[in-house]
Amino acid sequence: MVEIHLRVNGVTRSLDLEPWVSLLDALRERLDLTGTKKGCDQGACGACTVLADGERINSCLALAVQYAGREITTIEGVAHPLQAAFVRHDGLQCGYCTSGQICSALAMLAEHRAGAPSAVTGDPAATGVELSRAEIAERMSGNLCRCGAYNGIVSAIQEVAEMETAR
């Protein structure tokens, strides 16, 4: 057993756990933060996406002990216009991929603001690349939605991105 201090959604939680417990299981099973979902437990679906110091990670591929002292944000700690936009654009059906989509999108928007290119960005060195539907879809492709709510998800993200640029 290892004792660690996890900072989740601004609160420090202390945990006694085996070193092989994933961050995802620590959140879901030990801290009862079940908003983060498990779709595959092997980095293939994105349902478990959380933010670690603002960057998106697949928490199923992370060991909880590695993240001691890092600032973890789960869906329970998110309060952002994107959530309402998902509902307005019906970017969800069953809701099981939704937490991951939202956390992933928040980090993706930050990546874009920081000038990170994607595989569909024509010129990787260009600045101020417009967040087109194709750009959003490419950058969100690590988050599967079997219900096929992709169009609504992209619309929600695009609307929020436009709102942020307008500000």
Binding site: E29, I75, Q93
Partner: protein, 767 residues
């Protein structure tokens, strides 16, 4: 029940203020904040975790089990195998008198037998204090086997396929005229074979069960499409009264047919909780889902068509071979759309199945129709090319006025209108017919079209509606919410039926303690619940009126139910006549609430409900052919260097009757198209032909569509009511996956001149 809804139809249409509107789904906030709890997310004091041990042979008997190492893992509470498991009753044989018998995923009495029937069958379950310990210990259980010969390869087993017999539910063969002779004599003909691989649902929520016993009372949290049948099934298997079993399922993380049956994980979690006396949670691994939950059957199909030179069809042959498991599964109605789509004088349809030593197949979004329309609608396109005729023109040339097989009337069919609308939105006239003629740089551009078709169903639903003195309404029905927006749609319907604001209605669902709802299958749930709900609202309004008439002061005194309009939170005589609010009526009568109920959950009520359903089903079936239909248009771009296929545009134009919620309906229609795109281009479950073991049981190697694969999908619907359905609505869950694979394969042909008749259309097949 039926009469009431039929009478309701005009009123429902004209006073609809909520029905049809694009209202946000009521559970949207719970799902976007992480508050919605799914089956594996219920905390219980003393909760334990289970993991399964899977057989590693295709068929045989267990000869030895060594659990010593597993039991020694710290935290392990029990290692249960057939050597120490308590007896359970076997799954019941299917009986038409008790429809819950349809719900057994397989006929295997897990851990009550030493027999192995498929590679992956659970042969043990480990319970531990933590999930990690359970998984670790499960990997340490050593099982010895004596293998028996097994037949697992679909391609090799097809020769043994037996023709299906028809049943009242699944019409089998059709032999109208002499199709073979007509095709042989036809001016133009095609005769082609198509194959489709096995598919898996891959709902993003893997199946999970949390089971808690309290004496003989059992609580189960499970994402399910059939909570009432699951309750009956578990009660029977464990020999306890059904009244003490409660299945709770408010959120289902996707299902698509995969959560319709009761599979091993559910039964074994309940068993493990019985053995350990502790609450047990089993969250299947993704691989565990593939090993224990059935998927879509593969198919081999033949379609032959004959036509005169002007495109009048003279003969149609559609035959199919699919597989079941020797331990369960169902034949798929692969040729069902071929019964109804074209006006052909000579039709031969025949479905055959072969049982294999594999896990049962099970329903997956539009079982039968999704793969059947691939073959039929691709063959129609092939014929159009042979005829040098526009494929839409060919379809319209052969659009029937009545059912081609038995001359019954269509309850509703607006396929022509759907095509006209879709063609206009898509810009079909811009297409140049010659394959390869629409190049854009390195991209070969192709446009394809196909018909979507899915029968519409309606089951029985027990519903209660309670109206409180403050004007709020609670609708209660044990239906299922897997993402379709059912609670939102039913709240819209109740709001209009009672003339109250949408916000005043709360809908309770997903709990087997509620009045029994329909299973969520066959795209039937919305219509089924709506019928019960409308009837309950009618009853409720009559009760309220009776209350009002008891008072000498009520302006409703002397009024009859049919004089009244429900609006503005009360009952009023016509559009401008006198009336009063529910609050006033209930307040005067000193009543806190009034409740109305449709259907009964007693055993007698259940039998009566079932009998009514079957009677209505058979009556409807004698009179009408009922279905949703539509036209799928797509544009693909094929990379001329790599053969990669990208779907660049989509227009789906559907005839789905009255649309209850414009937003969630569009979402469901898009969702089906997305799954169809996966079926066309990337999805395939790969089995080792020697063992039948699934080789890609994960989301990394079974490729479902991702964001980047999906263009904006433009969906349209005609919004014309089907007069034979409650409020005129037709279910939308499945129709939109049908025709998708054909539209894509037709577009790929148009782009490249290559016909790929073997799904998925991967790039290797185009180079």
């Amino acid at each position: 029940m039926t009469d009431v809804q039929t009478r309701e139809l005009p009123a429902g249409r004209t006073t609809g203020r909520n029905v049809g509107r694009p209202i946000d789904r009521v559970d949207g906030t719970a799902k976007t904040t992480g508050a919605a709890r799914y089956a594996a997310e219920y905390p219980y004091p003393g909760l334990t975790h289970a993991a399964l041990v899977h057989a590693t042979i295709s068929r045989g008997r267990i000869t030895s089990v060594d659990t010593a190492e597993a039991a020694a893992v710290p935290g392990v509470l029990a290692v249960i195998t057939h050597l120490n498991a308590p007896a359970m009753k076997p799954p019941p044989p299917v009986s038409p008198l008790n429809l819950s018998t349809l719900v057994s995923g397989t006929t295997v009495n897990y851990l009550n037998t030493d027999e192995v029937h498929w590679d992956g069958q659970p042969v043990g379950v480990v319970v531990a204090e933590t999930r990690e310990a359970a998984l670790r210990a499960a990997a340490l259980v050593r099982v010895g086997y004596r293998e028996l010969p097994a037949t697992v390869d679909f391609a090799a087993g097809q020769g043994d396929a037996r023709p299906e017999k028809s049943s009242p539910i699944q019409p089998g063969a059709v032999a109208k005229g002499d199709a073979a002779a007509a095709i042989a004599a036809a001016a133009v003909s095609v005769d082609v074979r198509y194959t489709t691989p096995p598919h898996h649902h891959n709902a993003i929520e893997p199946h999970a069960t949390t089971a808690v016993w309290d004496g003989d009372r059992l609580t189960v949290h499970e994402g399910s499409q059939s909570i009432a049948w699951m309750r009956s099934h578990l009660a029977l298997r464990f020999g306890v009264p059904a009244a003490g079993v409660r299945v709770i399922s408010p959120y289902v993380g996707g299902a698509f047919g995969g959560k319709g049956m009761v599979w091993a994980g559910t039964v074994l979690t309940v068993l493990a909780a019985r053995v350990t006396g502790r609450p047990v949670r089993l969250a299947l691994t993704r691989e565990g889902v593939y090993r224990t939950v059935g998927g879509r059957t593969p198919s081999a199909q033949r379609v032959a068509l004959g036509a005169s030179a002007d495109g009048a069809l003279t003969g149609l042959i559609h035959t199919s071979v699919t597989r079941t498991g020797r331990v369960g599964g169902m034949p798929e109605q692969v040729t069902s759309a071929s019964r109804h789509l074209y006006d052909v004088p000579n039709i031969t349809l025949q479905q055959a199945t072969v049982p294999l030593d594999l896990l049962s197949n099970t329903a997956m979004r539009a079982p039968g129709e999704s793969i059947g329309t691939f073959a039929l609608e691709a063959a129609i396109d092939e014929l159009a090319c042979e005829l040098d005729m526009d494929p839409i023109l060919l379809r319209m040339r052969n659009e029937p006025a009545r059912d081609p097989v038995d001359g019954k009337r269509f309850a509703h069919r607006m396929l022509r209108e759907a095509y006209a609308l879709g063609a206009e939105r898509f810009g079909w006239p811009e297409r140049t017919p010659r394959p390869g003629s629409m190049r854009d740089g390195k991209w070969l551009v192709g446009m394809g079209v196909a018909t979507a078709y899915h029968p519409s169903w309606q089951f029985s639903a027990n519903v209660t509606v309670r109206l409180a003195a403050d004007g709020t309404v609670v609708v209660r029905c044990g239906f299922h919410e897997m993402g379709m927006g059912g609670a939102t749609a039913q709240a819209q319907i109740a709001a209009d039926a009672l003339g109250v604001p949408f916000e005043a209605v709360r809908v309770e669902y997903g709990d087997s303690d509620l009045p029994t709802g329909p299973a969520a299958g066959g795209s039937a749930q919305t219509a089924s619940v709506a019928a019960g709900l409308l009837a309950a609202c009618e009853k409720l309004k009559r009760s309220v009126l009776a209350l009002a008439r008891r008072s000498g002061d009520s302006p409703l005194r002397g009024r009859r139910p049919h004089d009244l309009q429900a609006r503005d939170g009360g009952l009023w005589a016509g559009a401008s006549g006198p009336g009063e609010t529910y609050a006033a009526i209930l307040g005067r009568a000193g009543r806190a609430s009034v409740e109305a109920r449709v259907g009964s959950d007693t055993r007698a009520g259940e039998i009566l409900g079932q009998a009514k359903f079957i009677a209505k089903f058979l009556r409807d079936r004698r009179r009408w052919v009922k279905a949703a239909c539509g036209a799928q248009f797509c544009e693909v771009r094929v990379d001329s260097d790599t053969g990669e296929v990208r779907v660049s545009r989509w227009v789906g134009s559907f005839d789905v009757g009255t649309v209850i919620n414009a937003k969630t309906t569009a979402g469901q229609l898009r969702g089906g198209i997305v799954m169809g795109i996966g079926m066309a281009l990337s999805e395939e479950t790969l089995l080792d032909p020697r063992t039948g073991r699934i080789m890609n049981p994960n989301l990394a190697e079974y490729h479902v569509p991702v964001h980047a694969d999906i263009p904006p999908i433009d969906v349209h619907y005609l919004n014309e009511p089907d007069p034979t359905m409650p409020l005129g609505l037709i279910g939308v869950g499945e129709v939109s996956i049908t025709g998708v694979a054909a539209a894509i394969s037709n577009a790929v042909y148009h782009a490249t001149g290559k016909r790929v008749r073997d799904l998925p259309i991967t790039l290797d097949k185009l180079l």
